[in-house]
């Protein structure tokens, strides 16, 4: 075979697999989160939670249905395949690389993701964006990006997100009842 064609095929295959990988990433609702390991050293408080399907399954087995908090959590995570949280607080303003947060925000412009809520507070320089991944009229993913000068949080929930169940978490984790129909943008 002509070497030029051979190389072209290899490059095309590689590009196709990259595209397939990227679309799969968007399709299952999992965002590619930057590595914040170095940032954790600079932060005064940091939360880094990675609950893949296996760990989520393990966690579910250890939830005690007799405890209201656990029972609510068990109910809320039904249909959820993964939960990824990165949250950092700093002693000084903008100690975190904004580009990393923007990189995550950019992924939410992929097809399927819809912005559910956008909050901007100029006084507190606070910004909260809530996105859902809609597939076949179902929310198959949730992303929250909240940033302030001294903190930022990224939450990515993968799987069938039932907003009504999040409703039912009210009082358990400080989650309020959201009138999503009215507030939806």
């Amino acid at each position: 075979m002509n070497p030029f064609f051979k190389h072209s095929i290899v490059i095309l295959c590689a590009a196709a697999s990259l595209l397939a990988g990227a679309s799969a990433l968007a399709a299952d609702g999992q965002l590619k989160l930057p590595n914040f390991d170095l940032l954790a050293d600079k932060a005064s408080e940091s939360v880094s939670i990675t609950l893949d399907p296996a760990l989520l399954g393990l966690a579910t087995r250890f939830l005690d249905p007799a405890k209201p908090e656990d029972a609510a959590a068990k109910e809320a995570i039904q249909g959820i395949k993964g939960i990824y949280v990165r949250s950092f607080k700093f002693e000084e303003d903008f100690a975190y690389p904004k580009a990393d947060v923007e990189m995550v925000r950019k992924q939410l412009s992929a097809p399927g993701w819809q912005q559910l809520m956008q909050v901007r507070s100029s006084k507190e320089q606070q910004r909260v964006d809530i996105y859902i991944l809609v597939e076949q009229e179902r929310a198959n993913g949730l992303a929250i990006i909240a940033s302030q000068p001294r903190e930022f949080t990224i939450v990515n929930i993968v799987g069938s997100v039932d907003m009504r169940k999040l409703h039912e978490l009210e009082g358990q984790f400080g989650i309020p009842k959201l009138d999503l129909e009215e507030k939806k943008q």
């Binding site: 609950l51 809520m117 929250i144 909240a146 984790f173």
Partner: protein, 111 residues
């Protein structure tokens, strides 16, 4: 014929001296018998001890695995509750911002 048979019988039953060293061989065999039993017993005991220690190691391993699994499970549970708490906290921020009453029009006009 009867005479022949009698002779044959006599020949067959005539006393014969044992071969040389027969006595020593018999004595040596008699002496080795308890040793053999002891060796057999020792082998059994060693086998049992090995099996018991292997069972002990397996039980200990299983116990440690279960303990580690339980720790991992409790840690995963803690992380799950923490993740839901953080999620709730951020949803709460959005909720409060959305539900914050907008300032009356008079304020905006500066009157």
């Amino acid at each position: 014929m009867n005479k022949d048979f009698e002779q044959q019988l006599r020949d067959a039953l005539r006393p014969v001296d044992p071969e040389e060293g027969f006595e020593q061989r018999v004595m040596a065999r008699v002496a080795s018998e308890p040793m053999r039993s002891r060796a057999k017993l020792t082998r059994w005991a060693a086998g049992l001890a090995l099996a018991a220690s292997m069972a002990g190691v397996a039980i200990l391993g299983a116990h440690q695995w279960q303990e580690r699994r339980e720790q991992e499970g409790l840690e995963a549970r803690r992380q799950l509750l923490e993740a839901l708490r953080v999620t709730g906290e951020k949803l709460d921020v959005a909720y409060q911002a959305v539900n914050r009453p907008s300032p009356p029009p008079d304020d905006e006009s500066g009157a």
